[in-house]
């Protein structure tokens, strides 16, 4: 086959692909051997110079979870895209024809500063004008040229300098005054005679913001390209590594990460719902229902033509969630509330309680609410959770729980306690948990702290753990998922 022959000639591609997959694995993507082989097979069918298609083809074989897409894209860019012809500045900067598959970039590092020829004579005003024009006309090529120019001029990149890409990005953007450009763009379209429609105005603004985002991406790519040329592919890929969404620590999640975490919670709660209820409505049949089968057989003249089976009764679980929302677990608490909200949508009987040193029921806040942020706001402002000083007191909170709601815990109830068990050296009152455990179906404790921190300082996990059916370290989605898996 000609394709195989070609591949043999360009075995650097295979080598490159290997390095690429190794890096994906390093970044945490679970690439199995079959998937690896599929990728090798796939590149036989799709030529590397069709960049976009090539990227999607590799993604189709290697990335089986959309949450991993971003990580994949970054690594792909470093390994493949930045070698493309359209990224070349001019002749001579890259080593001509075989630059595409060249693994070592050492020979280029020396050329980093002072490159760029044709447009070097531009003044700052001219560059600003060019930027404005590029955005106004949405001219891709011009945008790329502007990105190149501005990085070269403002980023102040030097070879071998151990600084991350964000630093250069910041320096470049600071000099471009994109907010000013946006205003100018908006002003330009303004028709002085008539007042513009509010919708039209909004759309225009969105459009320009979109374009500016694109420019930012272009600049980022340009910086990355230069860094790759300076440091080499492997090193660059390493510095760009970020935790995958499922590995993000709840306690230290950034705003953006929180958003993606929130999305990921939904399927999880559904899973949880299935595991807890273990409803087997149809399908999975129970033992033969002899009586009904015989009765049915009468219509076939005594031949049991239509066997009937017993169906197990679906159980309806009740859930009680007791969550610590004190400062020490603030980030986790926000996540917790989302989890509670999601649970509410899956189960008919969920009761939720929050505490710091006092405890309050917040079930109502989540009921019939469409907007979760509103519910969270109400929990944070209205719930009566402070008893003395607003420092966690698990003991007192549990006492209050037992006193007011203890009678509602029954044999169908699953109790989930979320918190770090840092009790500020108060009394643990672990007998409450023992009592709950006696009455309830299951008691689970989810702790957002690393296991190695448990029982250090004022953490008293083990005083409670004896009375729980399970106590789990849940710091990221992966662990939460593992918890759900193990529920059976």
């Amino acid at each position: 086959m000609t394709e195989t022959a070609q591949l043999e000639q360009h075995s650097p591609l295979l080598e490159l692909l290997n390095g690429f997959i190794v890096e994906l694995r390093e970044a945490g993507l679970p690439v199995s051997l079959t998937e690896n082989l599929d990728a090798v097979e796939a590149v036989k069918h799709i030529p590397i110079n069709e960049r976009e298609t090539f990227k999607y083809a590799l993604a189709a074989t290697l990335v089986k979870n959309h949450a991993h897409w971003k990580a994949f894209e970054t690594v792909f860019e470093v390994y493949f895209s930045l070698r493309g012809k359209e990224y070349e500045l001019q002749d001579g900067e890259w080593d001509g024809s075989n630059a595409e598959f060249e693994m070592s970039d050492d020979n280029q590092s020396g050329q980093m500063p002072g490159q760029g020829g044709g447009q070097e004579g531009l003044t700052q005003e001219q560059l600003a004008e060019m930027l404005f024009q590029a955005l106004a006309k949405m001219d891709q090529n011009m945008m790329r040229a502007v990105a190149r120019q501005s990085v070269q001029r403002f980023a102040g990149m030097e070879p071998g300098r151990p600084v991350g890409g964000t630093y250069y990005l910041y320096r470049t953007l600071r000099n471009l005054d994109l907010d000013g450009v946006l205003e100018r763009l908006l002003a330009q379209d303004q028709n002085p005679k008539e007042t513009p429609d509010i919708l039209e105005e909004r759309l225009r603004k969105d459009e320009y913001e979109h374009r500016i985002d694109q420019l930012k991406k272009e600049i980022e790519a340009e910086i990355r390209r230069r860094l790759v040329a300076d440091r080499g592919v492997e090193a660059m890929a390493k510095t760009l590594r970020k935790p995958l969404p499922e590995d993000v620590d709840f306690m230290h999640a950034s705003r953006e990460e929180m958003v993606s975490l929130r999305r990921a919670i939904w399927p999880l709660t559904r899973k949880l719902a299935v595991r807890l209820a273990r409803k087997r409505r149809h399908g999975r049949k129970g033992p033969l229902d002899f009586k009904r089968t015989v009765r049915q057989s009468l219509s076939y003249g005594g031949v049991p033509a239509d066997p009937k089976f017993k169906y197990p009764k679906p159980s309806k679980p009740e859930i009680m969630v007791i969550a610590d929302i004190s400062g020490s677990v603030a980030a986790f608490a926000r996540f917790t509330l989302h989890l509670v909200y999601a649970l509410n949508n899956q189960f008919s009987k969920v009761r939720s309680f929050v505490f710091i040193d006092g405890l309050d029921e917040v079930t109502n806040y989540f009921e019939g609410v469409d907007d979760i942020t509103e519910a969270i706001h109400r929990v944070n402002t209205e719930a009566d959770v402070i008893w003395v000083d607003g420092h966690s007191d698990y003991g007192h909170a549990f006492e209050v729980f037992d006193e007011r709601y203890g009678k509602d815990v029954g044999p169908k109830t699953t109790v989930m306690i979320l918190g770090d068990a840092r009790n500020n050296y108060h009394a643990s009152q672990s007998w409450v948990i023992k009592e709950i455990e006696d009455k309830a179906r299951k008691v689970f404790w989810l702790n957002p702290e690393p296991r190695s921190y448990w029982d250090t300082g004022d953490s008293i996990v083990s005083e409670y753990s004896d009375y729980c059916n399970g106590i789990f370290e849940v710091r990221n989605l992966k662990q939460l998922e593992a918890f759900v898996e193990n529920l059976v």
């Binding site: 599929d38 189709a60 089986k64 897409w69």
Partner: protein
């Protein structure tokens, strides 16, 4: 082995001929699915044309579309095959009445033969002589244990029936599985498939889709609709408008004789685009000036 498609571009062109506008990712995956003979797992938000993709591919290749709709409780008798128990019983009864003393072995061989086999979608797909596109819709609805039913057919294109032996595919069907991602699919299933995520289309593609799918729409309006929808999708909503909802909206506007959307028309018709009260309120808030809101309150 001959391939169905020559190049990625041909996939794209042919799909657009049957009215499906595919981007690079979609066309690439379909092409690769054919080349590597692997099923394609299509995932993404509801209403982005996952199921339609399979239908369009069937139309474009002139294949028969066999569809297996998944639901909780699906089992092998509904997905793979089932013995026609009643017919078997009748056969046995008939044997007894006719007094012809055939041996039990003969009878057994007889009642576990093709004649008494009811084929279900999966078995049918591989037994078909003509080219087939197999669509396994909403595979995330079955329990994780049931997924195992699919594995044999997905990796080897064969079905093992204990009484009959292994039925191998007469042709390799193009297989699409769709998922709304309500749960994580098993590793085993994912490993056997190519993965394609179809997201909401970008501005250009959406505009094209609107213009192709809605007759008599002028390009200006189409462009505006696409832009409004993009803005709305950027808001944090419970359920972002899908492509089909966008099309509904476009059709409505055309029927109403709207040529240009202003804030008022948008506010009045946005309930076609959004399905939750809180979402609608949020969107209306975005599109009206503060003064208007204030005057309403007074």
């Amino acid at each position: 082995m001959s391939y169905r498609f020559e190049k990625v571009q041909t996939v794209q062109e042919d799909l657009s001929k049957v009215g499906y506008l595919a981007d690079d990712g979609i066309a690439g995956a379909v092409y690769l699915g054919d080349r590597l003979q692997k099923p394609i797992l299509v995932e993404g938000p509801a209403g982005t044309g996952k199921t339609q993709l399979a239908k369009s591919v069937a139309e474009m290749t002139g294949s028969r579309l066999i569809r297996l709709q998944c639901y909780e409780g699906l089992d092998e008798s509904k997905a793979l095959y089932e013995w026609n128990y009643k017919k078997q019983l009748l056969r046995i009864q008939a044997e007894r009445n006719s007094d012809s003393s055939g041996s039990w072995e003969e009878l057994e061989e007889d009642i576990f033969s093709d004649e008494f086999l009811l084929t279900r979608p999966l078995l049918e797909a591989i037994r078909s002589e003509d080219p087939v596109v197999l669509l396994i819709d909403e595979v995330d609805r079955v329990e994780i244990e049931t997924e195992a039913l699919l594995l044999e057919i997905l990796s080897d294109y064969q079905v093992s029936i204990p009484e009959l032996g292994t039925v191998e595919a007469r042709q390799i069907p193009l297989v699409f599985l769709t998922s709304n991602n309500t749960r994580e699919l098993s590793e085993a299933l994912k490993r056997r498939c190519l993965f394609l995520h179809i997201d909401y289309p970008d501005l250009e593609r959406e505009r094209e889709i609107i213009v192709t799918k809605v007759p008599d729409i002028n390009e200006n309006l189409g462009d505006q609709i696409a832009r409004v929808v993009r803005t709305i999708r950027d808001l944090e909503l419970k359920k972002a408008p899908s492509v089909s909802e966008t099309l509904d909206w476009a059709r409505t506007l055309v029927h109403l004789g709207v040529e240009h959307i202003d804030a008022k028309t948008a506010t009045e018709t946005v309930n076609i685009l959004l399905k939750y009260r809180s979402d609608i309120e949020k969107a209306i808030k975005e599109f009206s000036t503060d003064e208007e809101l204030n005057s309403e309150e007074e």
